[in-house]
Symmetry: C2
Subunit: 209 residues, 2 copies
DNA sequence: TTGACAGCCTACCGATCGTTCGGTAGGTAT
DNA sequence: ATACCTACCGAACGATCGGTAGGCTGTCAA
């Protein structure tokens, strides 16, 4: 058997780089910064990843892979489409609490990818969006979801959530603590309501498109 | 009388810098880049703004001022609170179409401000959020709006819109044109529905909180 | 035992970064 | 004519950037 990478440094580099890129972006993060988190030389980083771009790509790929795995696990689960969407809202909130760096990286990539979208650059998160839109379409095909545009609904749902989580540290300073705590508590319920009101057709079959 | 800034270079610099910062962020934009857009030396940029940070601050302040002016104009208009919120949705969409750089800068600042929020750094857009939350609170005080958390609703509305507009260039490549066009058309209607469903209490007085 | 290679190092490269400096051109006020 | 101002410039500063070259060490299969 081939026994490459027996130190696990590459994986540690990806994890460190994720945190740094999330905090200061691609241009704001230097290879030296990444190397220092593992107390190794800068050129050692370039031994594992041939360039800064490749390291960044590895970070994106790693995040995208995890997200795809999570959403596929939900989609292949036993729930119906409405239940899957509710589980997805829970997944969103849990991930933002446990892995806040992910949200930052995704948003940064969304911003940066905009500028170079014409350079035929790979977009790591399109399979993720495809899976989500797939759930919506599936529910619509079975007559359980309202005929809203799948991609639009997903973008609005993701937008409401990510924008909220990104704003939290800033808004925390602007709001009295009591209001802030209530806002956090209400957030997940509000996302769920977004699913119920705008997507799921009630058990009585009524629909107001 | 003192005759400062008779060339208008400072204003031109702010406008150029806004575009560049929007495209590649603070770290991704150099003073040299800004100077070249006006065909002047980079030291001349530093004559108008003592540092890169100060130039960036001027860009943010300029955007924040315009946005505050716009939202105050709506708020002091003749409409009731529901009409003001509808006008605000229209303002959002129009601005994103006419001044797309603004959305990018605001989102980037939201991301970057997160990291240094503990350094007591000024947050230029809090008065803007305050004005918006004020409209919601005012409508609630008059019994016209549902008792949703004002800040939460505003963040969800802004998030849904900004995330959507930011994603447009990327999503355009992933979607068949016919779906893409429909998505654009439905976006404003969907935001308006967000206001109607989750905020405004219908004329019959019914309310489902 | 030996050779291949992974991992990590020091040393160094050219380029670019933000910033500082001294100086010039042209206008205005005294 | 003197003094002072804004606007702008080119040169240079030290620091840092991403990346390269080459050498040392330890592991492991042949």
């Amino acid at each position: 058997m081939e026994e490459k990478n027996h130190t696990g440094t590459s994986e540690k580099l990806v994890q460190s780089a994720e945190k740094l890129f999330a905090g200061k972006g691609f241009y704001g993060t230097s290879i030296r910064d990444v190397a220092e988190t593992l107390s190794i030389a800068k050129s050692s980083v370039l031994h594992h990843f041939a360039s800064k771009e490749k390291l960044y790509a590895a970070v994106l790929q790693n995040i995208a892979d995890e997200m795809i795995r999570e959403i596929r696990a939900i989609r292949q689960g036993p729930e119906d489409e409405a239940g899957q969407m509710r589980s997805f809202v829970g997944l969103l909130c849990d991930n933002s609490r446990d892995r806040p760096d992910r949200d930052l990286i995704i948003l940064r990539e969304l911003l940066d990818n905009r500028a170079r979208v014409d350079t035929a650059r790979k977009w790591y998160f399109s399979p993720y969006l495809e899976e989500l839109a797939g759930i919506v379409r599936s529910g619509q095909d079975k007559g359980r979801f309202k005929p809203i545009h799948p991609g639009l609904f997903i973008l609005h749902l993701l937008g409401a959530h990510h924008y909220f989580t990104i704003s939290l540290p800033t808004v925390r300073q602007l709001l009295p603590p009591v209001f802030f705590d209530r806002m956090i508590r209400d957030h997940r319920a509000e996302l769920t309501r977004m699913v119920e009101d705008r997507l799921v057709i009630g058990p009585d079959g009524r629909d107001n498109p």
